[in-house]
Assembly symmetry: C2
Homo-oligomer: 366 residues x 2
C-alpha cells in the first residue's frame, strides 16, 4: 500500500503556476539581470520590497524579504529572545517552538480554543506581571488547528498589547487562502506597525520553492534584522524574488489565489465529508481556509498508539504533541493537512485513519 | 566626483551571463516545475547536489547546497564552535571573523605571508597542545590578500592535520578564477573528505545573485548541518539552484569562466600597472586569480588616516584592520578589489589612492 501523506503542509502540484513563473523568470532576468544576478541589498529585491510595503502601507525600509518566512523568524527570535520569556499559542507551528528551544528561551504557552488564542489567559499572565519579549501568534487559519481568532478577541488582543506594551509577532501565511466567510482585519491593521511585527510569505499564495517570505518591522527592529541577514547570507536569493515580483506586476496573484482556493476547498470538503463517515466519534476543526485541520481523538485514544497502526494502514499525519512544548499537551490530537493529497486520496486516507483509530485492520474504501 | 569603489568583491555586470541564465531559468521551471516550485530537500536541488558530488568524487548525501556559502559557514560554525577554539588566517575574510565573534568563539589568528598561511606557526600551536575545533583557511587567491598557499605548504598542512586530528575548513570560492600559472590541488584533494570540509560557491564563477554555495562534508557532520538548514529555512531557494544546474548541464561553465577570467585579468593588470606608477613606495600582492589584492602602505602611513582623504578624493577600499581580529593587525594595509570597476576606473582609482596616501590633494589623471 502506498502511504497517503496528510502530514506535511505542502501544496498539490496543480496549485503551482509553473508555466507563468517560467516565463516571469526569463523576463525579469532579461530585463533586470544586472541587479538580479549580482549582490544586492540584505533586505531583498527593491521592487518587491516596494510592492509589499505599498500593500501594507509602510515605507519600503520597514520590509525585509527573507529566504522563506522561517528565516525571518530566526533573525527576529535571535534579536528578541534575550529580552525576556516568549509567549506562544498551544498548539502552535512546531518549527518556531523548536527554534525557541534551541535558543534556550523561556516559553509560556497559552491555550487555543474554537475562537483562537484564549485572550483571557493572556490578560491573566500580563496582569500577573509577566513581561514577555513577544507573543508569537498565527491568528488566521492557524497551523496546526486551522482556527481563526475571532473579531472580538482580535480587538481585545490589540488593546492588551497597547496597554501592557506587548510586542506581537503575527505570522500570517494563510490569510489570503480563504475559502469562505468575511475577511478579518489583521492584528497589524488593528494595532499599527509599532506594536506588531507582521510576517507573511508567498509559499501558500504562489509557490513555496521560491522561498520568499517577509517581515514588516517596527522601525526600532529594522537595523537588527537587516544586520543579521547581511551576516548570514549577504543578500537573499534575488532570482526568486524578482520572478515573483514580475508575477505580481502582471496581476497574476488574484486569479491564482482564486484557482488555488478552489482546489484547496475541494480537498477540505472531501476530507471533512470522509471524516464524518469514518470517525463519527472524533471531533475536528472546520477551517474556512488554510492547509490544516485539527482532530481530537475519541476519549481515551492516545495519538502515540495510533501512529504505528496508521503507518501500517498506509496513512501519515503529524501527532498533536509536536505542536506543544514537551509534555504540555496534544496527546489525544493530530494534525491533518489536506493541501497535497487529491480528494480521492483524502477520502481513502480518512478510511485508513478511521481504521487505525479504532485499532482494527484496514477496511478498504469502495 | 563620483566615487570609484575598489571596496566590495562584486563582479562587473559584463561578467554576469544574464541572457543564458534567463533562458535556463525558463527551461528548468518548464521541465521540472513540480520539484523546483515546491518544498524539497533541506540539502538542496537533487540534480545540482549530484553534479557537485560527481565533481568532487563523493556521494550526493555529503553535499549540502546553501543560499550562498556564508550561510553554510553559519551552520558549520554553529555546530563546531562549541567544540573548542578556532584557528583563522590573519588577515582573512571579514564576515566569518564577525560571525565567530558573534558566537563568542575563542579565535586564534595565524599570519599569512607571500606563500599563504605560515604553516610553521600552525605546527607550533598544535605542538603546544592547542586542539582547535577547526582551522578556517582560504588557500587559493585568498580574500583579502589574493595570495595562494604554495604547494609545499599544502602538503605540510595536510600532514599536520592528519597527525593532530585537525579539521580543516577549506573555503575555495576563487579557485577556478585563475588567470595564469599551474592549477594547485585543493586541500580536500590532498587530505581526503574526512579531514577537510570543502566550501565553495558559484558566486564568482557564474553569478552571486543566485546565492548558490555548497559544503562537501565529512560523514559525521552531515546530519548536524542538514538539521540546521531545515530548522532555518526548511528548503533552500530551489529556483536559482535549478537554473544553475541547467546552465552547468548545457556546458556553459567553462566558456563563461574563460570569458570572466579574461575580463578580470585585464582589470588586475590595469590596477597593477597604475599602482606601479602612482604608489612606487607601497608594496602589494600580485594575485594570479581571484578578486583582490593587498596593499601595504609606505612606512609610517596608517590606513585610518588614508580612509578619510580617500573618501574626499573619491575612491573607496576596505581598511586592512577589518580583516584581523580587533587590535591584531592591518593598521598599515588595505584591500583593493579589481573585480567591479573598469580598467579605466581602476587606473583613475589608483591615481586618487596615490594622492590620498601621500596626503596631498587630488591629482587628476590625464
Amino acid at each position: 500500500v502506498e502511504t497517503i501523506s496528510l502530514a506535511r503542509g505542502v501544496p498539490a502540484p496543480e496549485c503551482l503556476p509553473a508555466e507563468d513563473l517560467a516565463e516571469c523568470a526569463r523576463a525579469v532576468v532579461e530585463r533586470d539581470g544586472e541587479a538580479v544576478l549580482n549582490y544586492g541589498p540584505a533586505g531583498g529585491y527593491g521592487p518587491l520590497r516596494e510592492w509589499v510595503a505599498e500593500r501594507h502601507g509602510v515605507a519600503a525600509g520597514r520590509v525585509i524579504i527573507t529566504n522563506g518566512s522561517l528565516q525571518g523568524f530566526v533573525f527576529l527570535a535571535g534579536a528578541l529572545a534575550p529580552r525576556g520569556p516568549i509567549l506562544v499559542e498551544a498548539p502552535t507551528y512546531d518549527r518556531p517552538l523548536r527554534l525557541l528551544d534551541g535558543l534556550g528561551a523561556e516559553v509560556f504557552a497559552l491555550r487555543v480554543d474554537e475562537g483562537g488564542l484564549e485572550v483571557d489567559l493572556l490578560e491573566v499572565v500580563l496582569r500577573q506581571g509577566l513581561r514577555p519579549a513577544f507573543l508569537y501568534t498565527i491568528p488566521t487559519f492557524q497551523n496546526p488547528t486551522g482556527r481563526t481568532l475571532d473579531a472580538e478577541r482580535r480587538r481585545r488582543l490589540v488593546q492588551l498589547a497597547a496597554h501592557y506594551g506587548l510586542l506581537i509577532v503575527e505570522d500570517d501565511p494563510y490569510g489570503l487562502v480563504r475559502f469562505e466567510g468575511p475577511v478579518m482585519p489583521t492584528l497589524f491593521e488593528l494595532a499599527g506597525a509599532e506594536q506588531v511585527v507582521y510576517a507573511s510569505s508567498f509559499s501558500k499564495t504562489v509557490a513555496p520553492g521560491l522561498r520568499v517570505g517577509y517581515l514588516v518591522l517596527p522601525e526600532a527592529l529594522v537595523a537588527d534584522v537587516e544586520t543579521a541577514a547581511a551576516s548570514t547570507y549577504i543578500t537573499p536569493s534575488l532570482l526568486p524574488q524578482a520572478t515573483l515580483f514580475e508575477y505580481l506586476r502582471l496581476g497574476c496573484l488574484r486569479p491564482n489565489l482564486d484557482r488555488t482556493c478552489r482546489l484547496l476547498r475541494e480537498r477540505r470538503d472531501a476530507l471533512l465529508a470522509a471524516l464524518a463517515g469514518e470517525l463519527p466519534e472524533g471531533r475536528w476543526s472546520r477551517p474556512a481556509g488554510g492547509y490544516f485541520l485539527w482532530l481530537e481523538l475519541p476519549g481515551g485514544v492516545l495519538v502515540a498508539d495510533v501512529v504505528a497502526r496508521a503507518s501500517s494502514a498506509g496513512v501519515a499525519f503529524v501527532p498533536g504533541t509536536d505542536f506543544f512544548p514537551p509534555g504540555a499537551g496534544g496527546e489525544n490530537a493530530l494534525r491533518l493537512a489536506y493541501s497535497f493529497a487529491s480528494p480521492r486520496e483524502l477520502a481513502e486516507g480518512a478510511v485508513r485513519l478511521g481504521a487505525a483509530v479504532r485499532g482494527g485492520t484496514l477496511r478498504r474504501a469502495a
